[in-house]
Symmetry: C2
Subunit: 359 residues, 2 copies
């Protein structure tokens, strides 16, 4: 499938936003730090700059980071293509190592780079130009597979949502967080397409406001209404009876079903359980990491305290106050009602069901 | 007790911040909308402007609102003092009715105005000037009693906190929310004075940022270190073992022990239970309302959506997105480990224990 076909497919599904462009062997990213006030695209031809774009959150969201990293390593390959194959491999692997360090929590970054790395180290290519073109094909495949997985998990997942239900989502697990269409928001798009008449509530998602800046923006781009609430209003809405399901994405799912996702996800899951509301995680199987036995071994990234004590560059907190800024948390598997993947709906016990679906 | 003695007492307890001034029969309020970047005092001589100051959150926090409303009604009395006593009463009661509508959730406002109203309607005063002076004494008594209650509940409450414990608080239940010293923060001040070596974590408390703007500011004024976290990091900290107790204030406590407090309090309480952490509410008995049978009958104020979709006056959310802005929630009594009052520590069953302490 090529880009035109993918975009046609997305439009047919009612999804207009795609955060990544690959044109003339250059990568362009929609700068998500500047949304919704400005739609600015930046073009990259250097893998280290792509890694920096990931670290600095020009692009975010586990699947989108994976796709971006893959294209970053394609740029690396074309940049090194004048070198002999063995030199090429050594240098490419050095750049890959730096790319892998761009962000620690999401597994898709590692998964995508390793997928390209397997081709580089396979020994199947003696011609550097051919190898670079092969890596380009692989990155495009990762991208297109992600979009198709999202559309498929949308169809699976929407069946779980009652007609007319109020649905709460946290952070942005949408088109902007993926190759397109989205994971959790893909399921919501599919429910809207199916005429379910759902009412979508989006946590604003401090400190980065992925909910009010990104989720609201991309849903409104597709004409889907959304109501923003502050993160700490989730419990109030649940007790009031306004929420009938919670659906979020994931940055990594451990072999036992523990879910690493945006900070605050664990709290929403605990509140959902206390209020008898199902808690769904939508993620492609590329987010499931059988090498991670449980959530306890997933590194949780801490970012600069200034993201908490300031806002859009302006200090808001009392001067001299310390701040902690963990940006992910771990939701234990017993709070997860089901995991929605492109291969179907996975239910507990997760250690068995995740293993079965991946092998 | 007069103002100098109160301020000396507060300083002795290590508390420097007092958000209210009453001088030359005029009320001055520290504008809490502008903290921490500016310490601006505004002076009022008109009860309707005081009501507006309460509505627009120049002053906030249940006990501080009560004290402010009382002084507002003293201003009303002095403003009406040229009138015959019966005309005075009618006009004063009209102004009192408007004052009572300034904010709906906190019961202290009603409690304080009713305390003055009882004097006005008692028939004990035929001389309007004498009545006005009597109301002034009553407002000062409400203020000083509040400070003394806070100091006393600090001594009771700090005994509940283990040495070296990490304590989480939500919103601002401090000097700024009261006549001085604070309820939840009063307990923390007392624990610090007692040399407990506690570590204080403050939820930033969106949308108004009472935590990062006010709690952090007033604790730092007293030289007490504090670490700010986003509201949705509370669960992460609890699971990590960083939190050994939660302590918050209250806007109203129903006869069954249900607690109305800043939006997000319920979520923190649910997370505390899930993690086996005690959840304490510190409030003067003026916050307990035996006329409210349960939390279900407490009105929850909804404020403008713009407080959610913008930040410090700057729009941040996607244009066209709706928002909901409930500013309180109800924590059910079964999540409340104990209520700390100036009359001692109240424990379940609350219907019996609250009734016993108030009657």
């Amino acid at each position: 499938m090529n880009r035109e076909e993918i975009e046609k497919k997305l439009l047919k599904e009612g999804s207009r936003v795609v955060p990544i462009r690959w044109e003339d062997r250059r990568l362009s990213l929609l700068d998500q730090r500047l949304l919704p006030s400005s739609e600015t695209w930046t073009t990259y031809d250097d893998p280290d700059k792509v890694a920096h774009a990931i670290t600095s959150m020009v692009v975010r969201g586990a699947p989108a980071i994976g796709i971006t990293a893959a294209f970053g390593m394609v740029l690396a390959a074309f940049g090194l293509k004048g070198q002999p194959i063995e030199t090429f491999k050594v240098n490419w692997l050095v750049l890959a190592k730096r790319m892998l360090e761009a962000r620690p929590t999401a597994v898709n970054l590692r998964w995508a780079v390793h997928r390209l790395q397997a081709i580089v180290t396979s020994g199947n290519y003696r011609d550097v130009s051919r190898l670079a073109r092969r890596l380009e094909q692989e990155a495009l495949a990762i991208w297109y597979e992600d979009i198709m997985a999202n559309i498929t998990m949308g169809k699976h997942g929407q069946a779980l949502l009652p007609a007319g239900a109020g649905i709460l989502t946290h952070c942005n697990a949408g088109a902007l967080a993926t190759g397109g269409y989205g994971t959790a928001l893909g399921v919501l798009r599919a429910a809207v397409s199916a005429g379910k008449g759902i009412r979508i509530f989006a946590d604003e998602t401090r400190p980065w406001l992925q909910g009010s800046r990104l989720t609201a923006w991309e849903l409104l781009q597709d004409g889907i209404p959304v109501t923003i609430v502050i993160d700490s209003a989730a419990g109030y809405l649940m007790r009031k009876g306004d929420i009938e399901a919670v659906i979020v994405g994931a940055d990594r799912i451990a072999a036992n079903g523990d879910v690493a996702n945006k900070i605050g996800t664990y709290g929403v899951a605990e509140l959902a359980r206390a209020n008898g509301i199902p808690f769904y995680v939508a993620a492609p199987t590329s987010t499931i990491d059988l090498d991670t036995p449980s959530g306890e071994t997933i590194p949780v990234e801490e970012r600069a305290p200034g993201e908490v004590t300031s806002f859009a560059g302006h200090p808001v907190a009392a001067s001299g106050a310390a701040a902690l800024n963990p940006v992910f948390d771990i939701t234990p598997n017993d709070l997860v009602t089901a995991i929605i993947t492109e291969k179907g709906i996975i239910r507990p016990p997760y250690r068995e069901s995740l293993y079965a679906i991946l092998t």
